[in-house]
């Protein structure tokens, strides 16, 4: 179980300090958790704090009861936290096979690496020896990024907007990938997303807005409220257009 206690983070901007996260308290059990909420609400910051990329000014992070607040990115990765970036990183010279091998923590065969690529909808043979560089499209990189998390197979898998930049056809497969992860891997799968179809497969939904957890609960409880709100927002917009 992943637990955040009183986590706060502020960053400097032109106008001085800006509070990004205010006193976040969360318990994330095993299962499928979707974090959603408006842009700029602090979701990505929250994910980076869990992965150890950003250090909060105050608060505690616990993984299965162990305080990991002061552990490095590497130490957290070794304890079983994986993170798929919203904007995947490019590497000159490192191939897709290299990256998946590094992710799995051992030299894996081409066949095994291909299996992960196939799961994310890439024709493996076309990609396995390609460099993870600017020659790959944004959507291809996103899928390779997801494959690296699959290859790690850890107890906490974090995905920051995995659907962004992925075409509709692949999106269907992506949902299947997450469902399969859910069934085979266990652990906590935490996805930051705005997509209704990803929200639809969540066990738990957390809404982060203005740096706080504004709502938290089972999908059945939260989703109707969120969608209702979206409906109201749409009606307001339509009304404005009609005027």
């Amino acid at each position: 179980m992943l637990e955040l206690k009183n986590v706060s983070f502020s960053a400097e901007n032109d106008n001085g300090q800006k509070q990004i996260l205010k006193d976040i308290n969360l318990k994330i059990d095993e299962g499928f958790v979707v974090i959603t909420g408006p842009n700029g609400g602090g979701k990505s910051t929250l994910a980076k704090i869990i992965a150890g990329i950003i250090t909060p000014q105050s608060g505690q992070i616990l993984l299965d009861g162990k305080d990991i607040t002061n552990l490095s990115i590497t130490e957290r990765a070794k304890l079983g936290i994986s993170f798929a970036f919203q904007q995947p990183v490019r590497f000159k010279g490192i191939t897709v096979h290299d990256l998946i091998s590094l992710a799995s923590g051992k030299a894996i065969s081409v066949a095994d690496a291909c299996a992960y690529l196939s799961q994310v909808g890439l024709c493996a043979r076309d990609y396995i020896n390609r460099e993870v560089n600017a020659s790959l499209s944004g959507g291809e990189l996103k899928r390779i990024e997801i494959a690296t998390v699959l290859a790690r197979g850890t107890c906490v898998s974090l995905f920051d907007e995995p659907e962004a930049g992925i075409d509709l056809w692949s999106f269907n497969n992506l949902i299947k990938v997450f469902e399969k992860m859910h069934d085979t891997l266990g652990g906590s799968i935490i996805i930051i997303s705005h997509q209704e179809r990803i929200l639809n497969i969540a066990d738990k939904v957390i809404v982060v807005a203005n740096g706080t957890v504004s709502q938290e609960g089972k999908r059945e409880e939260i989703l109707p409220y969120l969608l209702g709100k979206a409906d109201i927002a749409c009606k307001v917009l339509t009304a404005n257009c009609e005027e």
Partner: protein, 305 residues
Amino acid sequence: MNNQELELLKMIADIEGTPSGAFNIRANGALQSRSVTENIDIREKTDGNGIEIIIKPNTKGEKVHIPVIISQSGLTELVYNDFIIGENCDVEIVAGCGIHNCGSEESRHDGIHSFFVGKNATVKYVERHVGTGDGKGDRNMNPTTVINIAEGGYMEMETTQIEGINSTKRVTKARLDKDATLVVHEKLMTHDSQYAETDFVVDLDGENSSANVVSRSVAKDNSSQLFLSTINGNNICNGHTECDAIIMDKAHVSAVPKITANHIDASLIHEAAIGKIAGEQLIKLMTLGLNEQEAEEQIVNGFLK
């Protein structure tokens, strides 16, 4: 040959035991062994300061190894090797130099390689430079490559200097005829207080000739590198030169690309980029469980692969 020499030979030429096909192994300033084939002749030059490698026209699929090793501290040498590649050939030439210096004096190999690539011939030239040994004596290499490519010829040059060379000045001059192509991939890594200079001058003289000169380098510790690349477009032609360098620690890197168009239809591009390893690259690999040093190694090794 002793173990160190055999090890060097493996590092620079992938040779274990006796290679097949044509080869000429030079060790400590003298011929160690040589083999020729029906199509590939290797012989001393008449002035005695090097060898000639003569490849008969239409030779296809053959490989020539001409490695040089030096394990004697204080040995310096200058050799001139000429490669005459006949029309319509398709061959691979593997050269390279390994210096193992345990002593206190400078060991140096200066090689001047001249290539005459015949009409419509295809040549792949691979050159690897390595230095080993913990002596105080410098391990230096100064290769000069002079390339002439006749009409329709194609030459690909892959040069690698990964470690252990204190000082190198690498000069490559090329002249291309009609429809000729030159592709260069240089990989270079310097560490400690090493110095490496590389200087390309390519003359695109022939109609529709083209050149692509790409250098990737990593400079670590207190080392310095200077990359010079000149492409002269003297006809309808395409030229591209690219230097991509990773700088680390207290190293220095200069890149000076120069392109000159002397013809209205010359199309020339230069690119040069120097920078440290991107923080997000390190972070990504750390989220996969690598520590910072391991992540750095993976990035550097990949970059120079």
